[in-house]
């Protein structure tokens, strides 16, 4: 996965993401693609969650999955999550759950509850940072004011790090793939460097929905695992998503 929150030179926030999934879950030799990734693509849907006939939040989802990986609360905040690998992972959380220790939350149930119930960027940030989880994760959150964009690095129990946009420091965007931002990514899976190179090449004065889509369409940020790309503009309350392909030659991950 790759998630980006960027602030343009007028202070607008744009949130984009590629949802990559299906690694090592069966390779289709004939079509040179991952089996589960290809099976997920027709299941991609955009959802408008409504209460009292009013939109509460909108999301890009896989039909049949009730949790949230990508969503927007119009005019309030945008949220995506990326997988975080850790030895203290989800299987420990599942074992604790089975053994009756149920004070943690399932990751995508937390994101769904935050999209449904949180009423501000700050409230969303607090809940994502402080709620106990069954599995580690990265939460990438965008708000509706200048500077409101952050990456929350979570272990199962703790909020390990919070990296926020700081335009004065020249950090006009935050970008997360699947590795802690203070460490080098796995040398065989460095999508961060190409993505940041393209963001820097685009520059703040040119960032828009269009150019964010360009960055998310550049190989290996786009790869064989990429099922969909979503672009969100909080000030307009807009979410749009596109099912992706990565014709050969293309990186398997």
């Amino acid at each position: 996965c790759t998630s980006i929150v960027a602030e343009d030179h007028k202070g607008n926030l744009i949130h984009g993401r590629n949802l990559d999934f299906g690694l090592f879950m069966g390779w289709d030799v004939k079509n040179k693609s991952w089996i589960i990734s290809e099976k997920l693509k027709p299941l991609v849907v955009n959802l408008d969650f409504r209460r009292n006939n009013q939109t509460v939040f909108k999301s890009t989802n896989f039909a049949g999955y009730v949790g949230m990986l990508t969503g927007i609360k119009p005019h309030t905040f945008t949220l995506t999550m990326n997988e975080r690998f850790s030895l203290d992972g989800g299987y420990i959380g599942i074992m604790e759950w089975v053994l009756g220790k149920r004070d943690g939350m399932w990751m995508s149930f937390l994101t769904r509850s935050v999209l449904e119930d949180a009423n501000s960027y700050e409230e969303a940030k607090t809940r994502l940072a402080q709620t106990k989880l069954l599995a580690p994760a990265y939460f990438i959150l965008g708000g509706n004011q200048t500077g409101q964009g952050c990456i929350i690095t979570r272990s199962r129990l703790l909020n390990i790090d919070l990296l926020e946009i700081d335009v004065k420091l020249g950090r006009w965007y935050v970008l997360e793939t699947n590795y802690d931002h203070w460490e080098e990514p796995l040398f065989l899976d460095d999508r961060r460097t190409p993505a940041m190179k393209c963001m820097n090449q685009t520059a703040q004065k040119n960032i828009s929905v269009n150019t964010m889509y360009d960055v998310l369409s550049t190989k290996p940020v786009l790869n064989k695992l990429t099922t969909y790309t979503t672009l969100m503009q909080v000030s307009e309350g807009k979410l749009e998503s596109y099912i992706r392909d990565c014709p050969n030659p293309c990186m398997p991950w």
Binding site: G26, I36, K39, L40, K41, P42, L43, V45, L47, D48, F49, R50, R51, N52, T60, A63, G64, Y65, V66, E83, G89, G90, Y91, G93, I94, W97, M105, M107, S108, F109, R112, L134, A135, A137, L188, D190, R191, T193, P194, K197, C198, N210, T211, Y213, D214, V215, S217, T218, K219, P220, Y228, T229, Y242, I243, R244, D245, C246, P249, C250, M251
Partner: protein, 123 residues
């Protein structure tokens, strides 16, 4: 250097929006989920339309599991134990997952597996 290996990597793309060409498979349809309706009914419209694709995806996961455990015991384990876990999941997720299983006809355990896959995948 391992990330600069053209043609598997490339210079930063431009003018890819609006989406077009070989990296754009298609747009995504919109559905409404009514949070005022009972949790077990909220996903009926989506699942009714996407049922065939959902069944295909679950079958692909079944095939993968059987590739690892040809006896089918792994799928049996999922179908026996995960329905029990469904009852431990918080509301409204538990009822929504049961509603999806009922509409799609997919065994409840396998719908639960799909919904907790992020935690399971770390295995």
């Amino acid at each position: 250097s391992t990330q600069f290996i053209p043609p598997y990597t490339e210079d930063c793309r431009t003018d890819t929006y609006p989406p077009n060409g070989p990296t754009f498979r298609g747009a995504v349809g919109w559905y409404t989920v009514d949070l005022d309706s009972p949790p077990s009914k909220r996903w009926d419209a989506v699942i009714t339309e996407k049922k065939t694709h959902l069944v295909n995806m679950i079958q692909a996961i079944r095939d993968l599991a059987n590739a690892f455990v040809p006896s089918g015991k792994l799928i049996e384990l999922v179908d026996v134990t995960l329905p029990i876990m469904a009852d431990t999941l918080p509301s409204p997720f538990s009822e929504e997952i049961k509603g999806i299983a009922a509409v799609s006809g997919i065994p409840l355990g396998e719908v639960v597996l799909f919904n907790i896959f992020y935690e399971v995948f770390t295995v």
